[in-house]
Structures are given as C-alpha cells and as structure tokens.
Amino acid sequence: EKLIIGLASEPTAIDPHYHNLGPNNALSRHIFDRLINQDEKQRLKPGLATSWKPIDDLTWEFKLRPGVKYHDGSEFNADDVVCSFKRAPDVPNSPSSFATYTKGKTVVKVDNLTVHFKTAQPYPLMGNDVSTVPIVSDSAGCNAATEDYNSGKAAIGTGPFKFVSYKPGESIVLSRNDNYWGDKPVWTELHLRSIKSGPSRVAALLAGDVDMIAGVPTTDIETLKSNKKLQLSQGVSNRVIYLHLDQFRENSPFVKANGGGEIKNPLLDVRVRKAISMAINRDAIVDRVMEGVAIKAGQLLPEGFFGVSSKLEPVAYDPKGAKGLLAAAGYPDGFEMTIHSPNDRYINDAKIAEAIGQMLTRIGIKTAVETMPRSVYFSRASKGAKGLPEFSFILVGWGAGSGEASSPLKSLIHTYDKSKGFGSSNRGRYSDPAVDAVIEEALRTVDDAKRQDLLAKATEMAIENVAIIPTHFQVNTWAAKKGLKYIARTDEYTLAIGVLKE
C-alpha cells in the first residue's frame, strides 16, 4: 500500500551521517536503525542493541540484536557499529557532524554481538547519545561517499524501509523492508515529498495529492479540524520558545534610554527581567498567535520529560506588577529596546515577536521588532561583528534532542565556556557559578533519580534568576486523510512507521 507524505522541510541527503539536521535524521530513521531508538516521547527503547548498561564508571556495554539483516542481505554485527561511530563524526563537507555525540567515546568490539563504549569520565547520557547515531553497514556504507548514498548505491541499512529513488527537491521513494526485525510497517511504498510553503502543503492535502502532511500551519488547524475527510494529530514537542536577554554588557547595543540615549543595561537587573516576564501575556500568545496550539511555558521542557521541575509554573500575566517592578528598578518610564527574531524558523516566530513587542510597549518598554531570515539571524545572534552576540533581546527556540533537561541547561544556561563546550548557545551570556556547579554535577551523575533532582534544581535556580524567559512549548500538528492516524512525536519527526491505519 502506498503512502504519500508532504514534508515541511527537505532532507538534504540520504547519507545518514552527512548533516545532523532534523529532516535528515527523520529520513534516516526510515532506512537506518540506531542501537537505541527513541519512541514518540523520546524515551529510549531497544533498537539494534537489545540491552545496554554501565559495567563500570567509564564503560558501557551494549548487547547487539542477533539475526538482523541489511537490505542487501548481509548480516549486522559489531563491526558495523565500530565503523559507523568512526564515520559519523567525519563525513567530508558535512556542515553539521555527529561529533557532538561521538566525541569522548571509544568504541571497542568485544565479540560479534557485544561492544563497549569507553569514556574518560562517568557519562550518564550514553544512551541518549548513542540513540542519535545511525548504523550503516561495514561493507556497503562505511567507506562510501555522500554521493553514493544519494544515488542509492550505499543507501543500505537495516531499517523498516528500503531506498528506491531520490530526486533532490522533488521526492524520495522508499519501499517496505519485508525482512525487518521489528514491527513491520503497514506501507509497502512510501513517497516523501517536500512542500515548503504552508498553504501549498495544505492545498496538496485538500486536493488529495498527498495522504498526510507535517507542519500544519496554525492558521489552518481550525478549518482542517472541521473537515470531515481529514484527521489531525497533535502533540507537544520538546521545543521551548524563549527569550534571551543580554546579561553581560554594561551598555547593550539595542537597549536605549527613552529618546535614544545611552543607558546602563537595565537587563542586568533581575527586577527588570522579571518585569518583562510578567508583562508577557502567555495566554494571549497561545490563544491568539498560536491559535490555541501551544502550551504556556514556565521552564525548559514540558511536563513529563526527564529533569523537569514539578515546582515551576508559567509566570502569570501581571502588567501592573511589571510596571511596579520596573519603577522599583529605576525605570518608571521604561526604556527603549529592540527584539530580534527569525521569521522562518519557528512556528509563527515573527508574529510572536510582534506580540511581545506590543506587550512590552504597553508597560513602557518601547520595543521595536526586527525580524529576519534565519540565515542572517543566527550568525548575528551568535556571533556579531565583534565575535559576541550582537543583539540585546532575542526570541529563540530550543529543542532538546536528547529528550531530557541537561540539553538546554548545558547549552543555554551554563556559563559560556569554550574550552569545556558549555553555554554554546548561551546568547545572553547569563552566568551563575552556582547553577553551573549543579549542572556539571548532574552531568557526572549516572544515577537517574539523583540526576533528575539535580536537573530540576538547576532549572529552578535559573528560572528564579530569569536566566531566560520561556514563553511556550510548541505543539506540532499533522493532518492526514480520514482513516490514517499519526502518533505525534515530541521530537517533531515525521516517521512513516508512526502512520497507522484505523
């Protein structure tokens, strides 16, 4: 049976190690397996490994699944794992490698069905990291170039689908792997088409050209819901949309006194940050801008994820209180500020920025809104003219790829530290040694319960200090023909295995 899916973004290669990017990772999950799979809630489930456990402080042992066959008939074994972990971080020309997950780990083959992962320090997130690296075949894939994958020559995995054809920009055709070791997919033939323009994607579904689409624009959800021929699936994602504030410059480039003069950066004052958070009407954002399809955020990950604090609630909308705080901080008449935001990255990103601009202007912080394509935005936001983040107040999002709270804590909250690789996306340069210490301790703690507490504690401390201002969690929507049901995933991936017939 044939299934045609309209994707919102286009995979850029068949090579699973080439570009560590959402759409590519989603695609590679069809053809390739990982040692550990993430389920729809990003919980770790056995994949090509049947079990994994730390055998000492520095070694994890993985038992491999016996009897798994590649699409070309060859057998899966420990050699494939070793060579895959060698290839993944080092594909030529790759703009975004898997080194993030493989570094610091040595993979040792013990026997045909056992491998050891060794690290220099205790490493609790071994499972999460390993779950991101696709396994390719030693014989067909490890020495192949990206082009060989795209042409199909090397596109040989153990996954539920087999490669049929790839026309860049147009479509990817896969067929069912009838020898799959796990649950076999319902679909014998799978077409993945990318239709970037939201309305066009919806139109394609309405016209019956595709069976299912990902990334339903929020504006259309209401109408599609009332359409009898369609069925929607929704689920909260691991992505939090938040505001980063300049907390390291005495004079912030985009914060000005009323009338445009220089002032000492008010964002350094925690009362001002709190006021901003209180001025944001999260309900309005969710209801009006997101058309109800989002969840108010009070911390880094939505409920149910590992490392989430049960104590934190979204900050309540309180413009009066906000004004009071501003006055207390010495800004009774507010100041001027620019919010920068991408306009093609997150769901309704520019509109949210505009709404926030409106809300802040109302409590006296006259906020200009500047949106730009992500191509311009990210390099300026991360590294402006002087190698420092250029903006003062930005809207960004963070999806926790590992599915637990250390990911945002380490990248967004921890002090920017190039040598240790911490705070790489800390574009406000928030820095609190106390929080840093808790995060680092969590990252050394292999015990799950203890780690959960440490992560929650770090989150609470950061939110208390208004290191960042979370606004909401994205909710993703898929729409399909009646009779099809998609199991919504927190990682935002669109996977054909998740499409079920009712």
Partner: protein
C-alpha cells in the same frame, strides 16, 4: 530608427492645423479623451490622497505597537476592537486594523514605487543621455553595463540585493533602483540617439551653445515622453515587485507592513476562511497597480504612439 523619423515627418506634415494650444494643453485634452484612463487617473489620485492623509482618517496607527493588540487579531470585517472603534475590514493576525493597515501600507508601497522609480529615472536618464551624447567608447562601456544589468531579471537582482542588504524601506528602494535604472537608461539612450541626430542639435552646436546646455536644455526635454511612460509602468512594476519580495520573505519589515507584507501575511490565512486578511490588501494593490498601468498605457498612446511597439529587441 530612420524609418521612424521619416514616418514622423510624413504624418506630421499632414497635420497642418495651426492650433493655438500649448503642447501640454493638447496632451491633457487628448488624455482625457479616454474614459477608462480618466477614471483610472481619478482612482489613482484618490488612492494617493487617501494614502497621504491616512494618519488623519484611520482609527489606528498600525505601526505603533502600543496601538496594536494581538487580542484584536483575526477579527472579521465589522468587528469591534478593544479600544472601541469598528474594524470595517477586519484585522490581521497581529491585531492590526486592516483599513488602517491598508492605507498605511499604500503609503509605503506607493512611496517605495515612486521613490525607486524616480531615483532610477534620474540615474538612468543621466547615464542614457551621457551615453547617447558622448558616443564612442564611453557609450560602449555604459551600454555594456546596461546590458549586464538588463540581462538579469529585476526580480532576481532585487532578491539578491535585499538578501545582502537586509530589510528596510531604504534598502528596498535601493534594490529596486538597482534593478530598474537600466530600463530608463536604455529608453533614454534610444530616444536621445534619435534626438542627437536631429538638426536642431546641430543648429545649437552651430550657435556655439555648450554641450551641457545642449544635453539638458535641448535633448533632455525631448526624451521625457517615453521616459514618463516607462516610468509609470516601472512604478507599477516596482510596487508589484515589492509585494513579491515581501511574499518571498525579504520585503518590508513585519511591523511596518506594506501592502505586499499584508497580502503575504494574509496568504497564510487563505485556506482558513479568513479571506479578508489577504483579499482586502490584495484588492487595494490590484486597484492601484491596474490604475497606474491604465494611466501609463494611455500615456503611451498619447505621448508617443510608436514606442509601444517595443521595436526590434526592446522589451
């Protein structure tokens, strides 16, 4: 070209009417001969006036974030806003009153179109006149540059430029100027070449009049007619182009939307039944562009029936 000139002679020789009107009066009376063009001009003028007085006739300043409330968002036509006024054309996703938004958007769209057209016209005219008058190597170099520019579609040039320059009215205008000046230059050069070879230029030279004066006082006024036509068409084109760029996400900023941005934003709502967000600005754009084109079309007939042929390889 010479044929055209000969024809001019032939046709003019027959019109031996000695009327006492000035060329301008004659032009005006001929222009208003066409009902469609008169109506179009009337509409266009009304649009311009509305755009100019927008701040005094709109309930909201859609560019002032303090006046725009997301809670007013996506209201259908006729709904009442929180601040009490009626949004006759509804509101967009950010809570902008569309009536106000359209009039303000018109201001931007028109000024982008007119400004870019005007600057491009000035540049193009100077370059074209210079090329035609100087001749020889200078002309060759200039015209190669013009060719280079023309060999790229305006849309592509503008797209690339804005990607490089970033957003903002000034940048859009700059991009549109770069995309358009060559059209003017070519037009001016073509007519200046014809004019330069006319005997009145020789007469002026014979009378010892300086080159600059010959170029600007004698040749230039005679090249204006086709320029005006190209100017109207290009202005309409610039307005459309700005809308298209906005659609592609590289146009005007989100918070000071031009018509194009309004349409592009509303575009997302097309399938959701909230037609007004995109349709009303769309109609405004359409009416503006159509009436400019109608006026330009008729100007073409009145000012110079022959440049419309696009003769030879002209576009």
């Amino acid at each position: 070209m010479t044929e055209v000139v000969q024809q001019d002679l032939a046709s003019e020789r027959q019109v031996q009417t000695i009327d006492s009107e000035t060329p301008f009066k004659r032009f005006v009376s001929e222009f208003f001969d066409s009902k469609t063009a008169s109506v179009a001009l009337f509409i266009l003028l009304s649009i311009i006036i509305l755009a100019v007085i927008a701040p005094w006739i709109t309930p909201q300043d859609p560019y002032d974030l303090a006046q725009v409330d997301v809670l007013d968002g996506r209201q259908p036509p006729g709904a009442e806003a929180f601040s009490g006024y009626t949004m006759w054309l509804g509101s967009d996703g950010a809570g902008r009153d569309l009536y106000s938004g359209i009039l303000y958007g018109l201001r931007i769209s028109l000024s982008v179109g007119v400004m870019s057209g005007f600057i491009a016209l000035l540049i193009g005219m100077a370059v074209g006149l210079l090329a035609a008058y100087a001749g020889g190597r200078a002309e060759n170099v200039i015209m190669r540059v013009v060719d280079l520019q023309l060999s790229f579609p305006a849309a592509l040039v503008a797209l690339m430029l804005i990607a490089i320059l970033g957003k903002g009215v000034d940048k859009i205008i700059l991009a549109l100027v770069v995309a358009q000046w060559a059209y003017y230059a070519r037009t001016v050069r073509a007519s200046a070449l014809v004019e330069r070879n006319k005997e009145y230029v020789e007469a002026a030279a014979c009378l010892g009049i300086s080159h600059a004066r010959i170029i600007f006082r004698h040749i230039m006024p005679n090249c204006l007619a086709p320029l005006i036509v190209v100017g109207t068409v290009q202005t309409a084109h610039a307005i459309s182009l700005e809308a298209t760029l906005s659609f592609l996400g590289v146009g005007m900023p989100q918070t000071s939307p031009s018509l194009g941005v309004l349409i592009a934003n509303g575009f997302e709502y097309m399938l959701s039944g909230r037609y007004w967000i995109s349709v009303f600005p769309g109609i405004a754009l359409l009416v503006t562009v159509v009436s400019i084109n109608l006026v330009g079309d008729h100007l073409r007939d009145v000012l110079n029936p022959r440049i419309s042929t696009g003769g030879g390889k002209a576009k």
